[in-house]
């Protein structure tokens, strides 16, 4: 790895804290990912991306900035990367997956705030996220109350925070509001970049993002095979890198990985023996490096075959239509696409549980682990009815609530093992 100290220091990072983060991240990655058996060759690319996640990729961002391109950071799958690409910008997901510097975060946030929000603040206040420091615009969005109100506290801490409003009901007025918000966001991007969005540039952006999502969907479909050709951890990693990497290069790498996995499926080889208990996860997003639950599951004789999550199917499952001649037509298409996202902030939200059922069948999963981050009101509230509905239709469900700390790992393991024992009786 090259020496990036100068670049990090220019970005204003706290070098000591940042070194500590990288060292923890590096050893966790080795323990959790590199120790896995029968990994596909194609994962080497993602290993490389992770080893350079704060290095080479940041250098690419800095080079893009030097060429006059803008870096737009965001925290949510409702922020359309297509619009960012249409002004030749670079879209990056911002760090919110590690329990780092929570002491500082708790100085400005209530203690009963979810780990994801605390983590975002921990990274900002500790000056250890180069993506955030490199962002010309940080995009917030009114999803849950926690995020919504925390952006008020984040505002004075970043140079340009733009908050997007979001509807909470799938009504006609909700859709109209989303479209209006996307128009406003497009105007904001044009202003920030000094570039005009044209039907051509937006169509190109949509094509790039569609191709990226299509590649990940291809990966999802391959995971329906038994034996599973790829571990849930590795597939989650691909879904996490989705938010950081150059979209075109990412798409090529995922497709290459899928070519290899297709061969595996044909030969009937996989990462775990055929017949290993197949689970799927549904619920809150797992941002890098939140690998706790999948790691516990996959070291308990089970394999994860799908994620109904924003870092997973909820982020990629819809494509955007490109019919339409004007920018307004295309924003309409984008609105149609994003308005389908069945995030738990919507009420009611019946399509989510319907899709969990569909996924379970398609992926041939034996049971569902419903994962909520502690204090994430929308998903925790929804978890009860979702569990009830799934169990009613004969789909065994384990409901878990946890955070980024490691202290409940033993308890989680006990529950997961008992759930697997339940699934495997006779």
């Amino acid at each position: 790895m090259s020496d990036y100290t100068q670049m990090w220091s220019d970005l204003g990072l706290d070098l000591k804290g940042h070194d500590a983060l990288l060292s923890i991240l590096g050893s966790a990655y080795a323990d959790i990912f590199l120790s896995q058996k029968n990994r596909p060759e194609g994962m080497k690319y993602f290993d490389f991306v992770m080893s350079e996640v704060h290095g080479l990729r940041i250098k690419e961002l800095m080079d893009a900035k030097a060429q006059g391109r803008k870096v737009i950071g965001s925290y949510c799958v409702f922020v359309p990367e297509e619009l960012i690409l249409a002004v030749d910008g670079v879209s990056v997901g911002l760090c919110a997956g590690a329990e780092f510097n929570f002491e500082s975060a708790e100085e400005v946030l209530p203690r009963n705030t979810c780990s994801l929000i605390k983590s975002a603040f921990g990274f900002k206040l500790g000056k250890i996220c180069p993506y955030l420091e490199a962002s010309d615009v940080v995009v917030g969005e009114n999803t849950c109350d926690g995020k919504k109100k925390s952006y008020e506290i984040l505002d004075p801490l970043v140079k340009d925070l733009y908050v997007m409003d979001l509807p909470q009901m799938k009504s006609e007025s909700g859709r109209a509001m989303l479209k209006e918000e996307y128009r406003k966001f497009a105007a904001k991007l044009e202003k920030a970049s000094g570039k005009k969005i044209t039907a051509e540039s937006l169509k190109k952006g949509i094509d790039i993002v569609n191709a990226k999502r299509k590649a990940v969907k291809r990966l999802t479909e391959l995971r329906s095979a038994d034996p599973a050709p790829i571990s849930g951890l590795d597939a989650l990693l691909v879904n996490q890198v989705f938010f950081y990497d150059d979209p075109v290069r990412f798409t090529e790498s995922v497709n290459k990985l899928c070519d290899e996995l297709e061969e595996r499926v044909k030969k009937g080889t996989g990462v775990f023996p055929k017949g290993t208990t197949r689970l799927m996860i549904s619920g809150c997003p797992m941002a890098v490096p939140n690998w706790k639950l999948p790691w516990i599951i996959e070291t308990s004789n089970a394999v994860i075959v799908g994620e109904e999550s924003c870092v997973g199917e909820r982020g990629v499952r819809w494509m955007t239509d490109t019919k339409g001649k004007t920018v307004d037509d295309l924003i309409d298409m984008l609105t149609d696409r994003y308005f389908q996202i069945d995030c738990a902030v919507f009420t009611p939200n019946p399509s989510r549980v319907d899709y969990v059922k569909e996924m379970k069948k398609k992926l041939n999963a034996k049971g569902i682990v419903h994962y909520s981050l502690q204090f994430c009101q929308p998903y925790i509230m929804e978890s009860g009815p979702v569990e009830k509905e799934l169990e009613k239709t004969g789909m065994p469900t384990l409901r878990l609530e946890t955070d980024y700390s490691q202290e409940d790992a033993g308890q989680l393991k006990t529950r997961i093992e008992a759930f697997i024992e339940r699934l495997n009786r006779k």
Partner: protein, 246 residues
């Protein structure tokens, strides 16, 4: 064949040996700072052909002894059938965990709920509260049973509840009424856990806390369901582990 089950809990280590469908041996010891040594001395001279480990320390023993492991949830589900073939609801309150388990008609585990990561409402909670009131565990239960009314305890966090108890007694609240309040608080929590998942009918009550008479009386009253307490409620997990291998 003699099948052994070893249940390494957070407060007590239990060993059971099953032979010909009967309990041939049962031993218990307090989990020390060295649970592995405690387990070894329990197994000393005990005769058995196979051993299965369960409980908090199940992987600890697996590192030193080639043996299968099962979760304590399954162990209690299987173990409960040794004593009762009718109960489809199990409440296990151990040293650090509270579990509610429901069984299907054939006795297979179907759903379970566990307390969150803290020790609220567990055996350890009772121990800390008894000490705060200056009681032994036996005195604690008897005192609670003797109270005519309960002082309401608001906090279920072991640390906060301890300060609450101290402040109540310093305000002159009767010790036995505070004791009853503490028992009531745990009962209402356990009942909520049970009601969430278990079918109607008799409840199998196991774990160290099932030795507490006051808990039994209050639970039965609150649930309005018959409570089945096995002769030794602490050994159920070890028996379940042993039986899981037969």
């Amino acid at each position: 064949m003699r099948y052994a089950g070893l249940d390494i809990g957070s407060r007590t280590v239990k060993l059971a040996v099953i032979e010909g469908g009967e309990l041939a041996l049962s031993r218990k010891s307090v989990t020390s700072h060295d649970p592995l040594e405690t387990a070894r001395s329990l197994m000393k001279d005990a005769e058995f052909d196979t051993v299965t480990a369960t409980g908090y320390g199940r992987y600890l023993i697996q590192g030193h002894l080639e043996c299968p492991v099962i979760s304590e949830i399954k162990a209690f589900a299987v173990g409960s059938r040794f004593f009762s073939s009718e109960c489809r609801s199990i409440l296990d309150i151990g040293g650090q965990d509270t579990k509610a388990i429901s069984l299907d008609e054939e006795g297979n585990m179907s759903k379970f709920e566990m307390n969150d990561k803290c020790a609220a409402g567990t055996g350890r909670f009772l121990e800390v509260m008894a000490t705060a009131l200056g009681f032994t565990l036996e005195e604690f239960s008897a005192a609670a049973l003797s109270a005519e009314k309960a002082v309401k305890i608001n906090s279920m966090c072991t640390v906060f509840a301890e300060s609450e108890v101290i402040s109540l007694t310093s305000q002159g609240a009767a010790r036995n009424e505070v004791a009853l309040g503490i028992h009531r608080a745990i009962v209402s929590r356990s009942v909520a856990l049970l009601r969430r998942i278990t079918p109607p009918g008799a409840v199998f009550f196991a774990g160290g806390v099932a030795l507490n008479e006051c808990m039994k009386t209050l639970l039965e009253g609150e649930l309005g369901r018959t409570l089945f307490v096995p002769p030794d409620p602490q050994i159920v997990g070890a028996i379940g582990a042993a039986l899981s291998n037969t």
